[in-house]
């Protein structure tokens, strides 16, 4: 793993303006889906992004891909801010930053053969593979993702969910990208198949030096695949750091609650202490004052209700909590080393 950042996101922000002003004017409401998120992706590195529905993780993915235009911030690819690029330039750059979506059933065109699905990107970027080599390249891509080269003439419906996700990955690889955004890429798969696809992603990374932004709600998968992890809550990063550090020694009460909620496949530990969070994630149109987590936080004090906590650095990790270095909460997280 080298340390030159391939992909850098600085203070990215995405606000959605809701509705129209009323008859008498009135203030437009905005929903801050992503609030000042920053992270760096190096070659061969995986950054995991976790959080619950509505925390802004998919908005973040769409924004850094420029599928949604951000409200503010920077996205740098090899140092160049891609948010300033004119449309045509951006189009050219897209080959380097690909995406694999969650649903392998709706992200492949049912009328196309696998060959056509995999070669279509080359119509936009003909220089990547010259026409006479495409046939061979399709076969190569299929073997790379563990499918049979003879599968090229089949249609998506003839494949299982896991195999379709492999096709989706092969399509992303067709343009020889450096960065792949995996938006819940293994979430729809069954456990036994999910493990195959997770292993495949790891193998491809080792082979090709890919950088992944791995977005998932499943903390166990993220723990498994990520070098660093970002935890989001209500559009904000609440904790960030090396995966082992965050999972073993979480500093933010939300991270602790999140980890604690994950059921452990170990009947002997079913009576351990767990945190059952009260209530639900607040409406992001009306986020709470101060720390967005304070209404559900067992450790909240006055300052949490009034002041947004600054990001506190603790070793290589950081947490957005007033008491990140005081609270002794990490013991509750179910992260005792498991031999594997």
């Amino acid at each position: 793993m080298s340390d030159t950042p391939v992909f850098e996101v600085r203070d990215i922000r995405k606000d959605y303006v809701l509705g129209k002003p009323g008859l008498f004017g009135g203030k437009l409401r905005t929903l801050a889906a992503v609030r000042d998120v920053s992270f760096t992706l190096c070659r061969g590195e995986t950054v995991g992004l976790v959080g619950e529905s509505g925390c802004g993780k998919s908005s973040l993915a769409r924004t850094v891909l420029r599928l949604n235009e951000p409200t503010g911030g920077e996205v740098r690819y090899h140092g160049q801010n891609i948010l300033d690029l004119p449309k045509a330039e951006m189009q050219k750059l897209r080959r380097h930053i690909q995406v694999v979506f969650q649903d392998p059933y709706s992200s492949l065109d049912p009328r196309f053969t696998v060959r056509r699905i995999l070669s279509e990107p080359w119509q936009v970027f003909p220089e990547i593979v010259p026409p006479e080599k495409r046939e061979a390249r399709v076969a190569e891509l299929l073997s790379l993702v563990g499918l049979n080269p003879s599968d090229a003439d089949r249609y998506p419906h003839q494949f299982s969910g896991g195999q379709r996700q492999r096709i989706g990955i092969a399509r992303a690889l067709a343009l020889e990208p450096e960065v792949i955004v995996c938006d819940e890429a293994v979430s729809a798969l069954d456990v036994s198949v999910q493990a195959q696809v997770v292993n495949l992603l790891k193998d491809l990374q080792d082979k090709l030096g890919l950088a992944y932004l791995f977005i998932a709600h499943d903390l166990s998968v993220v723990r498994h695949i990520s070098d660093r992890v970002i935890v989001m809550y209500l559009g904000q990063v609440v904790e960030e750091g090396p995966t082992d550090e965050v999972f073993r020694n979480p500093r933010h009460p939300y991270t602790v609650a999140l980890l604690s909620a994950v059921p452990l496949p170990d009947p002997k530990r079913r009576n351990r202490e767990v945190i059952v969070l009260e209530g639900e994630v607040p409406n992001p149109i009306f986020p709470p004052a101060g720390c967005p987590f304070h209404p559900r936080c067992a450790h909240a004090r006055d300052i949490c209700r009034s002041t947004l906590p600054p990001v506190r650095k603790i070793g290589e990790a950081s947490a957005r909590c007033h008491f990140a270095d005081e609270l002794d909460i990490s013991g509750i997280a179910p992260t005792i080393e498991h031999e594997s």
Binding site: E52, S53, S160, G161, G162, Q163, D190, V191, S192, V193, Q194, A195, Q196, V198, N199, K202, H217, D218, L219, S220, V221, R223, H224, I225, S226, T243, F247, A257, L258, L259, S260, A261, V262, P263, L264, P265, D266, P267, K268, R270, V274, V276, L277, G279, E280, P334, T335, I336, E337, H338, E339, S340
Partner: protein, 338 residues
């Protein structure tokens, strides 16, 4: 529940509440007859929590839907026996069956949002159960609905009773569905992936709630899920299904420690763990067979690391392997620890 578990381990099993014998479900399709569930037998004791584990297409949901009478026939065909209270559920007249559903056996589903009627208030939908089944007056039914909403911990039930499902979050909708299911105090609650669509902290809330309600009412719970973690934390006994058949049944602690079927072992090992180290996962190779194309012999043998010649020829029957355990594998006694 504890007492029952004990009596079970001592071998003196109480009379089962539900006794499923050789349940089969097939469907007529344009591609011929497809077998979804092929001869499954199991029992459920009063107050017991039973987990049914399986991947997509394993038949775990279809079997329970057949028991509830939710399979459309034709194209479906259901055979076998399902004994409840000394009567066969599958052959009783539809009138009696309707009576049974909700009254004795209730079911909740994964997608609570779409299981509720979007054009009726949640209060109406909960109260409806009392008005139709208990012939309660509107006022009475509403009072009971509020009680029930309190019980499933929907905050400010009195005001939220007039809300529509879209005004509720996914977790709250699931609570509403649990409320309607529990309205008539059923003896069995079948929960089909009740938390799969929910976030993990909400899942924790719902599972805690279900455990509480179960403790109070003493009902039996059948939890259908693909999540081994949920099974490990919730159930007394677990059954594993593969390709429409039961491949293993065991007390949950035994199942996770020493599985008796290579598929169970493979599932446990392929699962990424939050308390585990990173590195390669032990994936099971291949994919489950399509319903119309079952391999000869053991359905799992093409993916099995332990297969021997016999596995491709002779289908193993579910047979007892030790105390309260059964497995359908020729090599059940030789499966290594996880």
């Amino acid at each position: 529940m504890r007492a029952m578990q004990q009596s079970e381990t001592q071998g003196a099993a109480p009379a089962p509440l539900l006794d499923v014998r050789d349940l089969r479900v097939t469907f007529d399709t344009p591609h011929g007859l497809v077998r979804a569930v092929g001869g499954v037998s199991w029992t459920l004791s009063p107050g017991e929590t039973l987990g049914i584990i399986g991947e997509s297409g394993s038949g775990k949901s279809v079997g329970l839907e057949a028991i509830m009478g939710l399979i459309k026939t034709p194209p479906g065909h259901v055979s076998g026996q399902v004994m409840f209270d000394r009567r066969d559920v599958l052959t009783m007249p539809e009138r009696d069956r309707r009576q049974l559903r909700g009254e004795k056996i209730a079911m909740i589903f994964q997608d609570a949002m779409s299981a509720l009627n979007p054009s009726l208030t949640v209060g109406t939908q909960i109260a409806e159960v009392y008005r139709l089944r208990r012939k309660c007056s509107h006022a009475d039914a509403e009072r009971k609905a509020i009680e029930l909403m309190d019980r499933v911990k929907i905050p400010s039930a009195k005001t939220r009773i007039g809300n529509y499902p879209h005004e509720f979050s996914g977790g709250m909708c699931q609570r509403v569905m649990i409320a309607t299911a529990l309205a008539l105090n059923p003896q069995i609650l079948i929960a089909d992936e009740p938390t799969t669509a929910l976030d993990v902290t909400v899942q924790r809330q719902i599972m805690t709630l279900l455990a509480e309600l179960q403790r109070e009412d003493g009902m039996a719970l059948v939890l259908i899920t693909h999540d081994l973690g949920l099974v490990a934390e919730t159930v007394d006994r677990a059954m594993v299904m593969y390709a429409g058949r039961l491949v293993e049944s065991a007390p949950v602690s035994a199942l996770f420690e020493v599985p008796s079927h290579p598929y169970t072992r493979g599932l446990i090992r392929s699962m990424p763990r939050i308390d585990g180290a990173s590195g390669k996962l032990h994936a099971i190779g291949g994919t489950p067979p399509a319903a119309g194309r079952m391999p000869k012999g053991c359905a799992f043998h093409p993916r099995c690391e332990m297969r021997v010649e016999r596995c491709g020829i002779e289908r193993p029957n579910l047979r007892p392997v030790g105390k309260n355990r059964a497995a359908a594998c020729h090599l059940a006694e030789e499966i290594p620890h996880v």
